[in-house]
Assembly symmetry: C2
Homo-oligomer: 422 residues x 2
């Protein structure tokens, strides 16, 4: 039975009051305590691996009708738990962001102006089935001095409950407030709307998941939202490309892990080299198990390895071993295509002419533009952030992978000797 509005409102106020009190304590916390929390989380994951597998088994049993891909995302086993523990321990050693000075200048009147990173405050993260997000999101948020309210998918309810218990034990061990990591006591659907719809409640809401989830959160929100939207990522193979390199990158970008947001969804080939490049690229993708959906100019050159694309395949996020392949008229044709169908996530070019590559970078608006590299490299670890909480397609605040820095605000600190405004 759904809760009444009053009960939901009461739960939201409880979460926010407890979360804000925890955020206040974390704001001035020392690095040692936050690191101790992260290391203890890693240790408890290992110690309590068997409990976690059992909790996860209850989730798997309670959701017998999930697709095999979703079951795989949901599953926790000993190997995955030990990888989580290892990754978590590594996060503790990332450079400190809280209090970091990112700029300093002395004004003519002697005022010393610093730009300093401080925690954001209280963050709500709303996500879907993968339980490892629970650990990543909580550990990164707290290490950056924030409190979090986590709302994971219902399929992972038991796993997430067990993981949050570990996180709260680790907070207590580190003498930090356990309410720095909270999960709502109800799974009522109205709770998310009420939580993100409370003005002045959380400082940031981060929805991670399918388009419907992100749109629902954005619609309900009266607080800032950073969206982690879909990736309709293109790879443009220019006339100046090294074709062997382009082939390696195209196969990696599509087939290495097709179900993720930085996988290539459309391959664009310069008409100038179509006769040579289309057969080679289509064949390589076909051999990697990819269904190539070609435009007419592609089909004319790769009839055996491609099928005809429909209108719906343009701008489509396949998330599977399928992709569009279109012949375009050079750089301008590629950029026109990307402006029309891209989603500002990841756009890549293979070109050996640096002037072409530079023009592509200048003309394409995406969170990551890759030159002679796979779209799959738009990821926190590959781009040097160490760990990430997701890939933002919102341009404000964070654009691309969100690491520890993106979980802080940058304020001004003005150090004077009596300066006034004249």
């Amino acid at each position: 039975m759904p809760l009444g509005a009053a009960a939901i409102a009461a739960e939201v106020e409880r979460l926010i009051a407890a979360g804000r009190a925890a955020a206040l304590a974390l704001f001035a916390s020392d690095r040692q305590s936050r690191q101790r929390f992260v290391h203890k989380t890693a240790a408890l994951l290992t110690e309590q691996a068997q409990n976690l597998v059992q909790a996860n088994a209850r989730d798997l049993a309670a959701n017998p009708n999930l697709s095999s891909a979703l079951r795989d995302r949901l599953r926790l086993d000993a190997d995955r738990i030990s990888a989580m523990a290892r990754d978590t321990a590594a996060v503790a050693e990332l450079p400190e962001v809280v209090g970091a000075i990112v700029g300093r200048q002395t004004m003519p009147n002697g005022l010393v102006v610093e730009r300093q990173r401080v925690p954001l405050g209280l963050i709500a993260i709303i996500y879907e089935a993968r339980p490892n997000v629970t650990i990543d999101a909580a550990v990164l948020s707290v290490l950056a001095g924030n409190a979090v309210i986590l709302r994971g998918g219902s399929e992972a309810a038991h796993s997430n409950q067990a993981l949050v218990e570990i996180l709260r034990q680790a907070l207590q061990f580190a003498a930090l407030p356990p309410d720095a990591v909270q999960i709502p006591t109800t799974r009522d659907r109205g709770l998310v709307d009420a939580l993100v719809g409370r003005p002045g409640g959380v400082d940031l809401a981060i929805p991670r998941g399918g388009t419907a989830l992100i749109e629902a959160v954005t619609r309900a929100a009266r607080v800032p939202v950073i969206q982690h939207y879909q990736g309709v990522c293109h790879l443009y193979v220019d006339g100046s490309a090294d074709l062997a390199m382009a082939t390696r990158i195209a196969v990696n970008a599509k087939a290495q892990r097709p179900g993720v947001c930085n996988a290539m969804e459309a391959l664009l080939i310069d008409a100038a080299i179509a006769d040579r490049a289309v057969p080679v690229l289509a064949q390589a993708l076909h051999q990697a198990g990819v269904q190539v959906r070609g435009c007419p100019r592609t089909l004319a050159r790769a009839a055996a390895t491609a099928i005809a694309a429909t209108d719906a395949d343009y701008g489509r996020e396949f998330l599977d071993l399928q992709c569009l392949c279109a012949v375009v008229d050079g750089l301008e044709g590629a950029m026109d295509h990307i402006r029309r169908y891209g989603s500002h996530h990841t756009e890549a070019i293979v070109a050996s002419d640096p002037a072409i590559a530079d023009a592509f970078v200048r003309g394409v608006d995406a969170s990551c533009v890759a030159i002679n590299a796979s779209t799959r490299l738009n990821d926190g670890s590959c781009l040097g952030l160490g760990a990430e909480i997701g890939i933002s397609t919102t341009k404000l605040h964070a654009y691309g992978p969100m690491g520890l820095e993106a979980l802080t605000a940058v304020r001004f600190v003005a150090r004077g000797q009596g300066q006034v405004r004249t």
Copy 2:
């Protein structure tokens, strides 16, 4: 007669389509063109000063019932126009932000990862009576490579129309699309809601003005919003303070320009020095024309220069020659007061003990924390930004004065030699 929903929706689609096309052209525009636009704007302000004064006179005549403070904010005269022209010309020489590389690292696989500033895209700015905001907002936005839709206050309608004509002439002169600066063709109240409520429409909405305006925009928005909220700014005079410095700063913070968001609204005095400090500070404020509203411990020491504060005076943004004065129990008492009543805008301390000052900085969450300096220095020019579009109290993306950098996004550019994900 208000427009129908269909007519408003059509106007919104027209503004967004034209704005996005202009933003696309600006995304890849060169610095010279954008500078030429700014310089031409400055020149046209001077050339067309008389027209501007006439347009402004129509606004003043059409709004006879404004308070004298609002009339003053609305007024354009020859001096103000020449100051606008001078400030505008100075903005053109600020360092280029578009394309600026703000970080670079080479990964172990040889991938060179750059963080690069790019324009945000299309920005909607919704503001109240001061016409100079029209020029500041447009010039800074376009110089950072963005297109803007400006919705100023109805009181300034004629002035803003004349200013936007200058801006569009200057865009044409610089061979940039005139639709980089647009104003809606209707002043229907439904337009703002429809504009900011259009998902995927503008990349950012910035409301500047009173709390009601900001809350209305935030409520309607389905796009990111950066709020420029009120400033309930405190000055804490610690027991270790130089009392002469504290007095100078308190008078400047409150009385130099009382009607602005970075003016001091509450003076907090350490109980340890209350006997000595309260009479001196209350007397100095009183002499500067400030009505001091004191807590009981203040009144006991400054009966002649203070009146009794009411509950409503705590956390109040007076925006006038009035302020709260409260005696607090040391640093902790001051920080408790600020956490309860502050608005995350500007918080200042006067202290000669650096340990106290550091603890204040660590414990207080505000867009600008000032040590031994006036709250009035939380301003783009005083903090080294050169110019600002307002002072953000949103922690996301920009916290404090928003200059050119805050009008850009930071993306990743990954330069490879064939790197793939393994």
